[in-house]
Point group: C2
Chain length 183, copies 2
């Protein structure tokens, strides 16, 4: 892997463990055994690095969710929830869960990227729920978009709450969310 990707990947990890405002260039340069200035060579500023991390995440999600498109809606939702299980197991929160509370402190460019990220995920989730309901795989009251909101908001916080309480709250929340939508 190239240095640029190593920097971006480590930055993502740091954002998702310590938060955007709590990590520094030293946290990147030391483990990668490069100098501070090498980061600036690849990413002119911290906000450009941050924006790049989000962009890569959105791209990754779009590819991943596309690869599920021939599976049932139930399985797609379960794969989606598995992303969060994976985060939980690594002791990380998701990118949205980390960046959304810091929204006000971020540059307009990063804010726009975060908005886009939330749009992409919510649109996918809404479409999946809607289609699943049409096919009678799912059963729930209200708009699919509102159901998507409850799902995503609960999953996001399940990771940070699991960390706080040092138990697998993620699995309990996942179970409950699934039983709320399954026919």
């Amino acid at each position: 892997m190239e240095t640029k990707d190593k920097i971006r990947n480590l930055a993502e990890e740091l954002i998702r463990t310590k938060g955007y405002n709590a990590f520094s260039y030293a946290d990147l340069s030391a483990p990668l055994k490069i100098k501070n200035a090498a980061i600036h060579y690849h990413f002119p500023s911290k906000e450009v690095l941050g924006a790049s991390v989000i962009e890569e995440m959105v791209l990754g999600f779009q590819q991943l969710s596309s690869s599920w498109s021939d599976q049932s809606e139930k399985e797609q939702i379960e794969w989606f929830m598995d992303i969060y299980r994976n985060s939980y197991e690594k002791g990380m929160v998701c990118l949205m869960g980390s960046l959304a509370p810091d929204f006000e402190t971020l540059s307009p460019a990063m804010q726009a990227q975060i908005q886009r990220m939330s749009r992409v995920i919510l649109d996918w989730l809404t479409a999946c729920l809607e289609q699943g309901r049409t096919k009678q795989v799912f059963q729930f009251k209200g708009e699919a978009s509102d159901r998507a909101l409850v799902l995503i908001s609960s999953l996001i916080s399940s990771l940070s709450l699991s960390r706080v309480q040092q138990t697998d709250l993620y699995s309990r929340i996942r179970q409950q969310l699934l039983s709320d939508i399954l026919a």
Copy 2:
């Protein structure tokens, strides 16, 4: 109000808008027209200030929730949700939503306080849901404690997501959460 309370209140506001790691002593001293060192007089360190903010919040919640005890469980849950509406209207996230993602970067003392805060809120919510179900005010599947987890996690993220999307997602999530538990 005394200076010490002014400092603590402003600190809470800053944590809930910018996040713990993004606010500085200058953000406190400038608006309060005091000097940096005056904060250190009242709170020896930033972590002591942070812990004090959480302690005050827990105390406030315990008092508030006690004052609801003679009302119906439905009304109690609605009052509880009104706390989040209030936060939404001020453009703030809740203390838990702000501090939980930063958990790893905080001192053991603050971590313990955050754990306590989550316990207090979850215990209250679980008891309220359980009792409401017994009285047939509420109707839901699964353990009350799991239902409480879904409720709180969703409410927490509703605030940060509302900020990101710049719309009142809070109200849509609240509506959906209520319809999921009402008989």
